[in-house]
């Protein structure tokens, strides 16, 4: 792994457009095509009605994926959730896979922006939980296809590295760059899973600020008296 924080070191408070330079250029160039870090511009540009139809379908996709997972969510279920016909869905997306890909891209955009904008590690952790909760349908669908879909796994892995790099920025004081990135990966993994098992109903629902505060305190101070 080469100097992951190079971009950050050059710009103390880079604007969101610099996000792609926060990671090493060699890994970033490949990743930008996958995750599309720039804000969404791919909405069909033909009037507000079409746009809101698309938004409604995306929202219905999140709800349906959260309820049924990737395999359990049929195009008919997503359309019905949006109160539309399957024809309406196919008017905007090639199918379930395309809709999922768009949802995951939106998740990637939002979590990257949120991590970038937060002013502290603890603030970042709150943001990760809140954005992941909002997109829990996309995360459940992602977990369901991760092992059998190398293309999606590559996108997910790239996003994980981006998030780890952004978390590492606030860990650079006590740690070396390599260790900061390693901790960043651990934190993003833990919170990904926390949100997933929470949405499956396997653990109890908690306030994001409590979870972030506990995790942050464990990172900095551990569980025992110094």
């Amino acid at each position: 792994m080469t100097t992951p924080l190079r971009g950050c070191v050059n710009g103390a408070n880079p604007a969101p457009t610099y996000i792609a330079t926060l990671c090493a250029p060699d890994t970033c160039s490949a990743r930008r095509d996958d995750v599309h870090i720039s804000p969404t511009t791919s909405d069909t540009p033909s009037g507000d009605g079409t746009r809101s139809t698309r938004q409604a379908l995306l929202a219905a996709g999140l709800v349906t994926f959260a309820r049924a997972g990737y395999d359990g969510a049929r195009v008919a279920d997503i359309s019905a959730e949006a109160g539309m016909t399957t024809g309406a869905l196919y008017g905007h997306f090639d199918g379930k896979e395309a809709l999922f890909t768009e949802l995951f891209r939106l998740y990637g955009d939002e979590i990257t922006r949120a991590l970038h904008d937060a002013h502290s590690l603890e603030g970042q952790l709150v943001q990760v939980i809140e954005v992941s909760r909002k997109y829990r349908g996309a995360l459940r669908a992602s977990a369901g296809i991760l092992q059998r879909r190398p293309d999606h796994a590559a996108v997910r892995r790239g996003l994980r590295e981006t998030c780890a790099g952004l978390l590492a920025w606030h860990l650079r004081e006590p740690l070396t760059q390599r260790d900061a990135r390693l901790v960043g990966r651990t934190l993003i993994d833990i919170l990904d899973q926390y949100t997933l098992v929470e949405s499956m109903g396997w653990i109890k629902h908690r306030d994001p600020t409590d979870v972030a505060s506990a995790l942050h305190s464990m990172v900095m101070e551990g569980v025992y008296v110094q």
Binding site: T186, M220, Y224
Partner: protein, 216 residues
């Protein structure tokens, strides 16, 4: 995973009530299990058939059914064995002050995880949609969580645990440290190679006195 881990509610009995009675029968069952691991690793639990497992093991489907009810029964048996091994070999001991001794247990856990990567791969794959194997996963998670919580609560009584620590939440997060990051690392192979010691250091720090004052 910790000394306070609760006993399992799950038990496994052979398919038609017969455990292998002869040495030869035992070898046949072992061969079936090894074949099953290989086939599961290549194709996952959902698509594999008992016939394929038998073929790989060089026995008939009938022979497989002599020992196991179906493919899920084989996977159940393998998971039970894995759980037993993990419980026996990665117990996190407490030191004289009552603090968790994370390093040796975590180190061994990573080794066992690698040695059983095929089973972990299939187990993670079986979590959604929920099945008996996700129930088992939740049960293991709960066992570990209770173990960590018990150890941390005990530490509060003796004054070693941070007084302001939310024990329940810390225990939940402690379990997650042993789940998803290891899955990303060993099953998905997303991390750079050869940093097991650093990963173990980080886990030990989060379950020790943190990274805030570390200078390396």
């Amino acid at each position: 995973m910790t000394e306070a881990e609760s006993d399992s509610d799950y038990s496994w009995t052979p398919g038609d009530g017969r455990a292998p009675s002869s040495r030869r029968g035992h070898r046949t069952r072992e061969r079936i299990l090894e074949a099953a691991v290989a086939v599961f690793e290549e194709r996952g639990l959902v698509e594999v058939t008992v016939q394929e497992i038998g073929q790989r093991a060089g026995v008939s489907s009938g022979t497989v059914y002599k020992y196991f009810r179906d493919k899920a029964d084989i996977f159940r048996f393998l998971l039970m064995e894995l759980r037993r091994t993990i419980a026996e070999e990665t117990t996190i001991a407490l030191d004289d002050d009552g603090k968790l001794i994370v390093w040796p247990a975590m180190s061994r856990f990573l080794e066992l995880y690698r040695a059983n990567v095929a089973l972990y791969r299939v187990w993670w794959e079986s979590l959604d949609p929920p099945t008996e194997f996700s129930d088992m996963w939740v049960e293991v998670h709960e066992g570990y969580r209770k173990g960590f919580a018990a150890a941390l609560r005990r530490g509060k009584r003796t004054g070693v645990t941070r007084p302001d620590l939310d024990v329940e939440l810390a225990a939940e997060l402690a379990v997650l440290l042993f789940e998803r990051p290891i899955y990303s690392r060993i099953v998905l192979r997303w991390d750079p190679d050869g940093e097991d010691d650093q990963v173990t250091d980080v886990t030990a720090a989060l379950l020790g006195t943190g990274l805030g004052s570390v200078t390396r």
